[in-house]
Every structure is written in structure tokens, then in C-alpha cells.
Symmetry: C2
Subunit: 167 residues, 2 copies
Amino acid sequence: MTDSVLLDPVDLEILRLLQNDARTTYRDLAAAVGVAPSTCLDRVARLRRSGVILGHELRLDAARLGRGLQALLLVQVRPHRRELIDPFVDRIRGLPESRALFHLTGPDDYLVHVAVTDTADLQRLVLDEFTSRREVARVETRLIFQQWECGPLLPPQRPSAAVTRDA
Amino acid sequence: MTDSVLLDPVDLEILRLLQNDARTTYRDLAAAVGVAPSTCLDRVARLRRSGVILGHELRLDAARLGRGLQALLLVQVRPHRRELIDPFVDRIRGLPESRALFHLTGPDDYLVHVAVTDTADLQRLVLDEFTSRREVARVETRLIFQQWECGPLLPPQRPSAAVTRDA
DNA sequence: CATGAAAACTATACATA
DNA sequence: TATGTATAGTTTTCATG
């Protein structure tokens, strides 16, 4: 499906720095990893082409945008067949309240991360966009008290391999 | 806690464009929203200062980084007291496999989004980092078949208000 | 607050090793 | 592949409206 890519220590350090701040200049990147700026440019372009870097994203504060309440909705879609789930996914992805959508194993078929203004808004969303749909058999709502992004996404530590080869 | 911020149509359009591609230049931004590049710079700087923009992030393909399997772990932490949950949160946030962590209402206290290499790696993670911890009463593992980011995060549509005021 | 012009800095292409 | 340099382009500051 998607092939894993071989990354050397320079690539890894570049990714680590860019995950910390995606607007780090190639000059700073170069200084930090010990290669020329033009080399950094090349590396990043290659990481883009190889599909490791999917894009540059803005991280926003939902609460300051008037969406102070977030929740996870566990949804059962029955019958669980393509004719029903494909339009469901399209519809949910298009909701302005949706932040992320997961298709899962287990008793609940989908998990939807939503950001709303308040509990009244959440009630409206659940009733009008979920339980009102014929294919939605059940929705379980879990409010988010607090959430954290975790450290940078890096390849698993191999016993030794590429990560320790000399530049 | 966090105050909502008043945004005019120019701010909204800038946010919309930057969420689409966080590296859009101020020149292009300016052309798209109909103000001078230096004004865009000002707007973005203000959005940063006001906390609406939290940062610029790289979106990476986990599979191509050798983490082809992702899962959501529903975790019960008992007793659910600060002395136990604070170190739990710190520890989980620090795991290289963790992508995001949510503190929730409902029967499960935490939801952890993890990215691992394969099922063996996931089993190791669950056994060594979760069920082995005294405060972890239960872990339910749900594999992720597929996931989607949803549209840009924008303020809720108000009946009319700021969004339609004349520049 | 917004602007345009100038200055400083960055990204990028390319010739070369 | 990496580098340094040249060029084009972008960001940023600032005086002014």
C-alpha cells in the first residue's frame, strides 16, 4: 500500500525540527543539521516527493474561534456496507463541526472528533446530523476535558541500522 | 478560560487559506484577500499574538515512517485522582508511539491515539506501557482502518454579524 | 489600521565537484 | 548527492496617510 522510506540521520533531524516549527528557514535548518541550505531544500523536496511530508498545516485554538466544546462521537453505522458508509463518511467530513474521522474495528464503526460552541450546539449536531440519519444505529457522546498533542512522529527505533551510520 | 476573539472577514479568509496551505506567501495571501502583503503580515502576527494561531505544523505520513498501524486505546485509570493521572498523562505523552491524548467524560477516562509498526509492536505497547501500570484498570484497543482530516476549523456561522460587515 | 517602498533576508536554480 | 553562488522572490520594517 504505502512503502516505508529509508531516511538517514539528516532527514530525521530535518523532520524533527520542522515538526517543531514548520516555518524554520532552510538556513536555520542547514545550520542545525550541518549541511548547506541548498541541500536542505533538496532533502525537504525529496521528503515531499516521497510522500513522507504530506503538507504544512496551521494549528488553531478551537476555543478562541468560538468552538469551546469538543467531543468524540462513537457511531455505529448499520448495515455496515459501502453503499451506506461511503455517503456517511462524505457527509460527516463535510460538517463544519468535524475535525477528524476514524473508521475503526470494534463495536463502534466510526469515531468523530467534533468542535462545537456549547452543549446546545452539540445536542443539535447529534440529533440533526447523526441520529436522524437512517444508517446511524447508535451514537455515544464523550466530552473532551482536555487534549494533548504528543511528541514528533518519528520512525521506530531500530536496533542500530541507518540511524547510526556516519555522515 | 480562553476568550473568543473577534475576527473580521479578512482574518477569516486568511485563516481559511493558511489552513489549506500554511506556507502560502503573504504576497499570495494579500492578492487573495485584497489587502497589501504587509497588512497580511500584521494580521497573521495579531492572530498569533491573540492565540488563534498556535503554530505551523508538518503533516507526515505515518505509514511511510514505518508506523503502518494506528490504533485508539480507551483507558480506565483508577482511582481517578490527580496524584495518579498527572504522571500517567506525562508518561503517555512522552511515548514515541503516542500521537494524541484525550481526557474524556464517560466510562473510559483517556483515549490515546497511537502509531506503531505492526500488531506485535502494538501488543508490546499495550502490555509494557499500559496494562503493566498499576493505575491502569483497563485498556480497550481499537484499530484504525482509515482516518480523515476534516475541513478547516472556522468560527460557527452566526446569523449575520461580523462575517457580513463591509470592509 | 492600512499602505507602498526600501532593506534585509530566503528560496531556488544551476554549474561544479 | 552536496556545495557555493547568483538571481529572483519574499518577508519585514517603517514613514506616512
